[in-house]
Amino acid sequence: MDKHEHYYHRADLGRFGEIGNTAGPLAEKFFAWYGAVFADGALSAREKSIIALAVAHAVQCPYCIDAYSKDALEKGSDLDQMTEAVHVAAAIRGGASLVHGIQMRNTVNKIGM
């Protein structure tokens, strides 16, 4: 059996940099930009970290959830704040589905009697 028994492996997060082994200049640009994105700016590093945590849940990336759960703590958030951020992500995902119900209603109204 392939040593990769699962699609996701915790250790792979630490190997993220290997993506630059091919198309290195593109990876360099990405990682430099990535680092700059999360620096203190108009938003604090803590605020950016908790946005990242929410987005990680929206895109359901296990690497990002692992990384930004730790990062949010290290940036000074507590579990209550992090949980509320995940609810924001879930609300937007849920709302995005539900608001399409209007499209459904438009279609039904057009062809229904």
Binding site: D40, K75, G76
Partner: protein, 347 residues
Amino acid sequence: MGRHLPTLHERREPLAAAAVQLQRLHALALPRELDACLAEAGHQPLLATKVEVLQLNVGKRCNQTCRHCHVDAGPDRTEVMPHDVLVRCLELLDHSVIPTVDITGGAPELHPEFRWLVEEVHRRGRHVIDRCNLTILETGPYHDLPGFFAEHEVEVVCSLPHYRATNTDAQRGDGVFATSLRALRRLNEVGYGIGDPKRRLVVVSNPVGAFLPPNQRSLEAEWKRELRRLHGIEFDALYCITNMPISRYLEWLESTGNLSAYMDRLVAAFNPSAVGGVMCRTTLSVGWDGTLYDCDFNQMLEMPIIGPRHTIHEVDLDALAHRTIAVDRHCFGCTAGAGSSCGGSTT
């Protein structure tokens, strides 16, 4: 108030012994050794610059038993700095220009001669720092301390892991957050925390878990805004301090399976530019029995200053000013990330 966790000492845990703590740290396979890291930073050996702070650990007795305590302090501890050691510390001030005396513990206010010590240091024109757990100010005999602090221009450096309750009570005991807020309000009432340099109020945050502290410069404005918005409390500065992998925090790291990953995190986060500002370079730490140390952490690991004259009774300040600092693996705690010291980050 809340849960009482017995100290390692009270439970007669082997980990109560400094030698056992060092053994546990030495048993770990670390990705890098401290000496190599210090050499990379241009600080091998690590040298003191001058003594700017005389830090007195006046005893291990405390009204709290916080889970992360590096002193293993608690109500059962009986170590108290005797009068002759206090007198010798004051004599050292008389024969030096050390500008600051930093009083810590335990809860230093529990020392029977605490107020006398503060009065004597203040009378000598030296700046006094009290490392306060806040809840002691809400305890009967100590209720008037905010006024006493204000009268003697004591800088109050107090512990509050977060501006919200959850983390504080998890680390320091049930109900500690609410009690701490009451103490902070009373400090505000006597003029602390509103920008008066003679009534300086500093809040110290330690991580509640196995992770590094946040950047204090990044968070200070938010803490000020949120403590004011949520609780109507003012303060002057935020220090974010890394938890040292010793004593009760070491026990917690081991018992939760976090020790190896935490040490790896500290080593990976070694910051060469954080080394220059570590507190041991400008601090002389005095233990309750008069033994001299480079810092309070070395004190708890029973690693006295290097050299033959290592008690307050035989101190030679000129020799100590540029001494070689005793270091070990726990020092990775002070050199990680933004660096950590009794004055918060070092970068």
